[in-house]
């Protein structure tokens, strides 16, 4: 099930859509959640600068957390070097996800950019 957050007008932003497509194509996730957290930060409304992604994929098997994050970073290299400014990654194998791993709550903005 893919969950893509939609903004006020009911549409997922262009960046969120690209992120969804790239992660789906490259990591073949069994579960994927893309959350635009820009609203939690000091950026204009409808920004697509801060995201949290929850990715459940076999691609992460036998990979330590850092390696998993680098894999996701690599897939989203272009976005991270243009508008996306922060990326919170929760990367699980299907086994870990089924056991009920928790997605952490992102910290509050503290004003800087």
């Amino acid at each position: 099930v893919n969950l893509l957050t939609r903004n006020m007008s009911g549409m997922a932003g262009p960046v969120a859509s690209i992120i969804e497509r790239k992660l789906t194509d490259m990591l073949k996730p069994s579960h994927l959640q893309i959350i635009n957290e820009s609203y939690m930060h000091s950026v204009p409304k409808n920004s697509e600068t801060h995201f949290k992604v929850v990715v459940v994929s076999e691609s992460f098997t036998d990979k330590k957390p850092l390696a998993r994050h680098r894999l996701v970073n690599d897939v989203l290299k272009e976005e991270l070097s243009s508008g996306v400014h922060a990326l919170s990654i929760n990367a699980f194998t299907p086994e870990q996800w089924d056991k009920g791993r928790q997605v952490d709550k992102s910290p509050n903005c503290m004003g800087g950019f």
Binding site: L66, S88, S106, P107, M110, G112
Partner: protein, 118 residues
């Protein structure tokens, strides 16, 4: 002479066992993710060097190139890139951070007295 940021960073991460690159300073973080790193390190009572990328644009880009890591904050332990906020938080929750610190001779304030005997 022109600034060699990569060399500078290489020197910075070698200067102390724990080195972080963050937004703001530990006494006044300017980013929730940077603050999370500061708070975790505070719980473990770790002393560390902190570098504020908000006052140094070349450092801000340079550290991303150096680590091949696109975001701030960034944590180094003994010259090795550990990760950002998510990873540090995960390591903190699993107890792995205590182990990593112990490996480099730092006794975390959260270390179980039983484990000290190991």
């Amino acid at each position: 002479a022109p600034r060699d940021v990569q060399k500078e960073i290489g020197d910075l991460v070698a200067k102390n066992k724990v080195v972080i690159f963050m937004k703001g300073v530990p006494e006044a973080p300017q980013c929730g993710f940077s603050n999370a790193v500061v708070q975790i390190l505070r719980m473990h009572a770790v002393t560390y060097d902190a570098h504020n990328v908000l006052v140094d644009e070349e450092l801000r880009q340079g550290i991303k190139d150096f680590s091949s890591w696109p975001t701030i904050p960034q944590v180094y332990i003994e010259g090795e890139f550990i990760g950002g906020c998510d990873i540090l938080l995960q390591m903190h929750q699993t107890g792995e951070l205590i182990e990593e610190l112990q490996k480099v001779g730092i006794k975390s304030a959260l270390m179980d007295p039983e484990d000290e005997k190991k």
